[in-house]
Each structure stands twice: as structure tokens, then as C-alpha cells.
């Protein structure tokens, strides 16, 4: 039961993250910019040199990251194997680390924020929180 709650939470969060990241991917390839209001600097962030790594937009990596998490959580729900849970926790952990770096770049290097990015980073930390909570409860032991 706890395992199902866990998977459902991961699934829900990943879905939200997927929506956010995919929206940015679409805009990136349309060469458009999301509605940027005066108080935020999303255009600055999204057009900065940090928004792409070797030509690949970070949003695309994010989108695939959430897709992978969605698949893993369904696998856990339907045909549980411990390895799925372990891989999932590893991925969530790396996602949170990348988010920390991205937040650092926004706060200290660009000094402006992009609400879409911050949302995704928030989701990643929540994912980490959920993963750690369940890891602590040892539901997969």
C-alpha cells in the first residue's frame, strides 16, 4: 500500500514537471519566448548560455527526465522489482542536484529568475523529499 502511495506521488509530481518542461521545449523549438512579465527575467534565463548544454536545451533533458520517472513509477505500480525503486531514487537524487546548480546559476550568476524553471526545480526537490521519506520508511526492503 505504501509503495502504491509512493508511486502515485512520484507519478503526479513527474507529470506536473513534464507539463512544465515540455511547454518550454515547445517554445524553444518554436524560437519563441514565454510571456515574460517585467518582474521576472524568464527571457534572460531562457536565452542565456546556461539554457542549453551542447545545443540541447535543458528543458528537453528535463522533459525526458520526467518521462523516465513516469515510466519507472508505473513499473513500480504494476510489476514491482526492487531495482526499479533503486534506479528511481538515484534519478530523483541526480535531478535534485542538477536543480540546485540551476538555482545557483539563476540566483548568483544571472540574478534573475524564470518562473517556469523555478517551478520545475521545486518539483524536483519535492520528488527528492518523497523519495527520502519512503527510503527512511524502508518500504522497499
Amino acid at each position: 500500500m505504501a509503495g502504491q502511495v509512493f508511486s502515485a506521488l512520484i507519478l503526479l509530481l513527474s507529470f506536473l514537471g513534464f507539463l512544465d518542461a515540455t511547454y518550454l521545449v515547445i517554445l524553444h523549438f518554436k524560437n519563441a519566448f514565454p510571456p515574460c512579465t517585467i518582474t521576472t527575467g524568464c527571457e534572460t534565463v531562457l536565452t542565456s548560455k546556461y539554457a542549453t548544454v551542447l545545443g540541447v536545451p535543458i528543458s528537453l533533458a528535463g522533459s525526458l527526465f520526467y518521462l523516465l520517472l513516469i515510466s519507472l513509477s508505473i513499473l513500480i505500480l504494476t510489476s514491482f522489482k526492487k531495482i526499479f525503486a533503486n534506479v528511481l531514487i538515484l534519478i530523483v537524487l541526480s535531478g535534485a542536484l542538477v536543480s540546485a546548480v540551476l538555482i545557483y546559476i539563476q540566483f548568483f550568476i544571472l540574478k534573475t529568475f524564470c518562473q517556469y524553471c523555478l517551478f520545475s526545480e521545486g518539483v524536483n526537490f519535492l520528488l527528492l523529499g518523497v523519495a527520502l521519506l519512503f527510503l527512511k520508511k524502508k518500504i522497499f526492503k
Binding site: F15, P35, T37, E43, T47, I74, L77, T78
Partner: protein, 243 residues
């Protein structure tokens, strides 16, 4: 009904049980497939929805007010009698504006004589530390009839001064390169006249709903920022071909 032997009864029960197990197994597999298909459908629908959102034109704000008339103080270029008037609200420190700069330049070359282009100051001072000083540099250059030269230089070199605390010095160097009267340039950088005009343009822009940069108006109608140069071109061509 003939009586079954004990052994036969046992066999039958076993068969029934196996059947039941198989059925359950099938149902389980079916359920799994249903979950995967269901999730895939939701994801596809979501992506489709996002495409719709991304494609929907941003709320046009032409209803909230008319684009201010072009005045003699506005930096303009091209043919004033052209059928198409393109107005851009921009900030010299906005990366998206710098990204659009080559497109606008290309348009002005490709449709030489057919476009009247107006630049409107829209410095996003809340997020861009050098937005105001760069606008002032362009304004001061404009007082010596070199607005467009400074405008191009600012956009082309944006990365080099965007986060620089010494942007003012950089702009004075630009002025030297453009052979401007440096003393006059420096005085104009500080003058209230420039600041007032820029703020006035900004406020009037905000009043008609400009809230991001760049924002383009073609013949007074706000357009959704074109994705590509070709999209931009067809917007201009549509307007030229209109009667």
C-alpha cells in the same frame, strides 16, 4: 449425470483452479496494458494541449489603447510614406531583443523603401541593470544623428556589457568609435531630457499593454512575436499586399 470417481473430481477441481488462475493472469496483464495505454494517452493529450497553448496568440492589447503616434523625437528609419509601419518596443539589454535584431535588420534590407521602422524605448530596469544607461547612450547618439549606429552596436555587443558595472565607459568608447562629440555625448548621457523621454515612452507603452520585450506592432496592431524570419517576412508581405 453420471457419477464421477474421486480421482476425476479432483482432476476437475484442479482444472477449474488452473483456469481461474489463467484468467486472473490475463486480467492482470490486461490491467497493466490498460495503465500504460492510459498514461500514454494522457501524456499525448497533455503535449497536444501544450502545443495549443504555445500556439495561441498572446492576448492582444490593442483594445486597451491605441499605439501612440510617431513623433519627431522617436528614432525612425526607412521610408515614412511606406505602407508598413513596424514599431518595436525593446530594451537594449534584453537577450530576446538582441536575438530579433538581425531579423529586423534583414527585413529593413529586404524591404528597403517599403517599411517605416520605429524604435521605442522599453528599458526593463527592474531586471536589467544597464537597461537605462544603454537607452540613454542610444538617445545621446541620436542627438548627434547616430541613433541607429549606436542601436546596432548595442545589440551586437550586448553580451560584453550586459552585466558590466562599467557599461557607461563602454558606451563612451562606442561613441568614440562612432566619431561623436564626446563632451556633448557625456553631457547628454546625464541630461534629464533623455531620461524623461525614455520614461515617457516606457509609460505610454505600458499604458497600451506592452509588458514584455520585444513587442512589435505592424500598422498599429500588436503581433505575436514571429518564430522565424520567414514568419516575420510573411507578416510584412501580407500587410504590403493589403489594399
Amino acid at each position: 449425470m453420471e457419477k464421477l470417481t474421486k480421482k476425476e473430481k479432483k482432476e476437475l477441481r484442479k482444472q477449474e483452479w488452473q483456469e481461474k488462475l489463467k484468467k486472473e493472469q490475463r486480467q492482470k496483464t490486461f490491467k497493466k496494458i490498460a495503465i500504460w495505454v492510459g498514461i500514454a494517452a494522457v501524456l499525448i493529450a497533455a503535449v497536444y494541449g501544450l502545443f495549443q497553448i504555445a500556439n495561441s496568440p498572446q492576448t492582444t492589447s490593442t483594445s486597451s489603447g491605441k499605439l501612440p503616434q510617431v513623433t519627431k523625437e522617436d528614432p525612425v528609419t526607412g521610408n515614412p510614406n511606406a505602407k508598413v509601419t513596424l514599431v518595436e518596443y525593446a530594451d537594449f539589454q534584453c537577450p530576446a531583443c538582441a536575438a530579433y535584431h538581425p531579423m529586423v535588420k534583414q527585413l529593413l534590407t529586404d524591404y528597403n523603401g517599403k517599411i517605416y521602422f520605429v524604435y521605442r524605448y522599453f528599458p526593463l530596469t527592474a531586471i536589467h541593470q544597464n537597461a537605462m544607461i544603454s537607452s540613454l547612450a542610444a538617445f545621446a547618439a541620436g542627438l548627434q544623428s547616430k541613433f541607429w549606429e549606436m542601436h546596432d552596436m548595442l545589440f551586437q555587443t550586448q553580451n560584453s556589457w550586459a552585466s558590466s558595472p562599467k557599461a557607461r565607459e563602454t558606451f563612451i568608447d562606442f561613441a568614440k568609435k562612432l566619431d561623436l562629440d564626446i563632451d556633448k555625448f557625456k553631457t547628454d548621457l546625464e541630461s534629464d531630457k533623455g531620461k524623461n523621454f525614455i520614461n515617457d515612452t516606457y509609460n505610454k507603452g505600458q499604458a497600451i499593454g506592452v509588458n514584455s520585450t520585444p513587442t512589435f506592432f505592424i500598422n498599429g496592431t500588436k503581433i505575436q512575436n514571429p518564430r522565424t524570419y520567414n514568419d516575420f517576412k510573411s507578416l510584412i508581405e501580407n500587410e504590403i499586399n493589403k489594399k
